[in-house]
């Protein structure tokens, strides 16, 4: 079982679309997949049409008083389950701060269900906080969608520095950055991509285009592979997933 967290310090870079679409691709291949929506905004939960509420409360999961398995909801897709978001997750940092061994909490919760799944995706809220540090400890890899713009590149490098400065916290964690919301017509995007690839040759080759097909996920409330199978955007997630598997 591998835990993959879609993460970026910056918001609006395509984290949730990445988690939902890659999870859908992985499940369609016959893998058993779970998505845990840790973002109180609950966008992944919305995309799967699930009500954003955790039975017993999000705090109980983090504290271990209820099992993560009890909060799981099947999505409408075979082999693809979800732990929905809960608006109370906005207090996640406070709960972790109150808990003993806060960095191990998410990992411990996942351990209860890890034998049921091949891949678990954590859709994280933007920020760098105790929650993200707990995610770093639980994950095997961070999938970091990065828009080829100045601000996104800055946050990518912030993350890179953080990882470098905290080797004990991240342990075996792999950082798998890739370009998201790419508009190849924009010269600036092309330039930034070249620059960042030169500085970070470990970045994934696959890119996700800036596409209205992906934006329509909010209308269809489904992964793009369900309503837009064969589209350029759907294919880009498929090839990104193939590449990620070779890096795990």
């Amino acid at each position: 079982m591998k835990v993959l967290a879609t993460y970026n310090i910056k918001g609006g870079v395509g984290k949730t679309a990445t988690a939902v679409n890659l999870a859908h691709v992985a499940a369609a291949e016959g893998n058993r997949v779970l998505v845990w929506d840790l973002d109180p905004q609950g966008a992944a939960t919305f995309y799967f049409r699930v009500k954003p509420k955790v039975k017993g409360g999000g705090k109980a999961i983090v504290r271990g008083s209820i099992e993560l398995g009890d909060a799981i909801k099947a999505t409408d897709f075979d082999n693809l389950d979800l732990v929905p978001a809960d608006f109370s997750y906005r207090h996640l940092d406070l709960w972790l701060d109150d808990a003993k061994k806060p960095l191990a909490r998410i990992r411990r919760a996942l351990r209860q269900v890890d034998h049921e799944y091949d891949y678990i995706f954590l859709d994280c809220p933007p920020s760098i906080s105790l929650t993200s540090e707990s995610v770093f400890r639980a994950a095997d890899a961070l999938l970091v969608p990065t828009i080829p713009t100045t601000l996104s590149l800055r946050t990518y490098e912030q993350l890179d520095r953080f990882v470098e400065e905290n080797p004990d916290m991240v342990r075996e964690l792999k950082i798998l950055g890739f370009f998201s919301m790419v508009d190849r017509h924009k010269r600036l995007h092309r330039r930034f991509m070249t620059e960042l690839r030169t500085a970070h040759p470990e970045m994934l080759e696959g890119t996700i285009p800036n596409s209205t097909d992906i934006e329509r996920m909010g209308v269809h409330r489904e992964p793009i592979g369900s309503y837009g199978k064969g589209s350029r955007a759907a294919r880009s997630y498929e090839s990104l997933w193939s590449e990620i598997q070779t890096r795990l």
């Binding site: 291949e29 016959g30 799967f48 049409r49 009500k51 909801k73 409408d76």
Partner: protein, 515 residues
């Protein structure tokens, strides 16, 4: 998680009434409507039935492609359209997806046996909540035998995980409005009853004498060896050799645990010969595994390093051909032929199986349960001694003990309580997977380094560096498996498994002991 609820829909009016109730009270969406010929598949030992799962091969009436669906309790584990429109014969014919790979591991080299076949009309409806999210699926299944005998329509209510309360509410609503008769029997069993083709019969029964039962299972395994033999000699499909070796290993287990059941002199002789048969096929199987896994291992390297591996792939192919050639020579040897004839003669000789040991006339269930308990005790005892510092050989030995228990359970599977058997086999298979991964990565790493020696004479060392990268990956996989050991062993060394062992000889429905 709730299980599937089943009802018989005996009259056309019932069907319409169910639909009317549903449309009046919940959002409803047609997911699929199929008219198909469908067959159920399982292994001769009933491996899928033991794990509460089914494998269905469906051919559409009219346009469309055939499909294969592996499911458990209404939950589809994997569904795939088949390129070839023929029933898969074994693991080699399964689509190459993650779930089918799990299925291939589960059947462990055994062939599929075609179960009952029917013509069916199947409609799947999704019940939706106010977010248009599916909470339960209603499956209407109208089937008739190939001879045209119609079976009562079956309604299955499949709750989705996390939506048990919603599904129960809909079910209550339907039951209040329509008089349906509840039935626990799934369609596969109904068809089996109607056509007289129940689960593939293994010829095993609890009241058989131990010697007779041992003989039945050995005959089945010998058939697997015979079926795969020409494929093993041709070397075209690695699955043939895998199936051959699994049958050999199972026979070895039955011989090992056949003390006081099988004639001791014959047992000693054939144990020795089967060990030899296993040994002569090992290098080719290892070489097959190198070739099969190498592309995946190479893919973990950066592109430039991957290209450096091209010469090594040639080395692997050459090595595999050499192993195959040597194995074929051994398999065509006089020794193999004489041993094969003697074995068949032994199996067909009634005298050799009469009064051949102290326990040969005991009821098989009593004997085999004792052997299972002993194998379980040893596995738990020795597994409990494994620490992070234990040498690799300790894990290898434990894997052998695990195999022994697994093969005893699977070979005599039809004698046991299905639910108890599944409870033991699930964590045991997980444990074996982890131990297998650990051993495979160790053996593969060592073998690849040895084979890489053939490249050391060239001036270009780029391939050697790339192989170093591959071996490193294997090391990482091996240590991951090792780290997982205590967790999977903990799931096996569990009260649930112990309780299931005590229930192995009880019938499912009555709770009475079988013997």
């Amino acid at each position: 998680m709730s299980k599937v609820r089943r009802y018989e829909v005996t009259a056309a009016g019932d069907f319409a009434s169910v639909l009317a109730v549903l449309t009046d009270h919940v959002g409803l969406q047609l997911v699929s409507l199929e008219e198909v010929e469908r067959s159920w598949l399982d292994t001769a030992a009933g491996t899928l039935a033991q794990t509460d799962s089914t494998l269905e091969f469906r051919t559409p009436k009219g346009e469309g492609t055939a499909s294969l669906t592996w499911a458990t309790e209404g939950r589809v584990l994997v569904h795939d359209n088949c390129v070839a429109a023929s029933v898969p014969a074994g693991a080699g014919d399964l689509p190459e997806t993650a779930a089918f790979t799990r299925l291939a591991r589960l059947i462990d080299g055994e062939s599929f046996v075609l179960g009952p076949t029917v013509n069916s009309q199947i409609a799947v409806l999704a019940c939706l909540d106010d977010e248009d999210k599916t909470t339960a699926r209603f499956v209407f299944d109208r089937s008739e035998t190939l001879e045209g005998t119609a079976l009562p329509m079956l309604l299955e209510i499949v709750p989705l995980r996390g939506y048990d309360a919603e599904a129960a509410a809909i079910e209550k609503l339907v039951r209040r409005s329509v008089a349906l008769s509840e039935s626990a029997t799934p369609m596969k069993a109904r068809v089996g009853n109607a056509t007289g083709t129940r689960a593939p019969s293994t010829g095993l029964a609890p009241e058989l004498s131990a010697a007779s039962a041992w003989r039945v299972v050995l005959q089945q395994l010998t058939k697997s060896i015979t079926d795969s033999f020409s494929g093993v000699l041709s070397g075209d499909d690695p699955e043939d050799l895998h199936a051959f070796r699994v049958a050999v290993r199972r026979i070895r287990t039955l011989l090992q645990d056949g003390g006081e059941v099988i004639d001791p002199e014959s047992r000693d002789r054939f144990r020795h010969e089967y060990r030899w048969l296993g040994d002569i096929t090992t290098p080719t199987r290892d070489a097959d595994v190198h070739l099969l896994e190498f592309p995946g291992l190479a893919a973990s390297l950066p592109q430039a390093r991957r290209d450096d591996l091209a010469p090594f792939n040639e080395v692997l192919i050459h090595h595999r051909n050499e192993c195959l050639s040597s194995m074929v020579t051994d398999l065509r040897s006089i020794r193999r032929a004489e041993f094969g004839s003697a074995w068949l003669e032994f199996l067909s000789d009634d005298d050799a199986w009469t009064g051949c040991g102290e326990l040969s006339d005991e009821p098989v269930l009593r004997v085999v349960i004792r052997r299972v308990e002993k194998a379980h005790r040893e596995l738990v005892k020795n597994g409990g001694k494994i620490t992070k510092k234990s040498p690799a050989i300790a894990l290898h030995e434990l894997r052998k003990e695990g195999k022994r228990l697994r093969y005893l359970l699977e070979c005599f599977g039809p004698l046991f309580n299905e639910e108890a058997l599944a409870t033991i086999l699930r964590p045991l298979r997980d444990l074996q997977d982890v131990l297998g991964e650990f051993q495979d990565t160790e053996v593969q790493g060592e073998a690849l380094l040895e084979l890489a020696g053939e490249l050391a004479t060239t001036d270009d060392h780029s391939a050697l560096v790339a192989i170093g990268g591959v071996v490193e990956q294997l090391g990482v996989r091996g240590s991951t498996a090792r780290n997982e050991f205590s967790k999977v062993f903990g799931r096996f060394d569990d009260r649930k498994v112990q309780r299931a062992l005590n229930r192995l000889e009880t019938t499912k429905s009555s709770g009475k002991k079988k013997r």
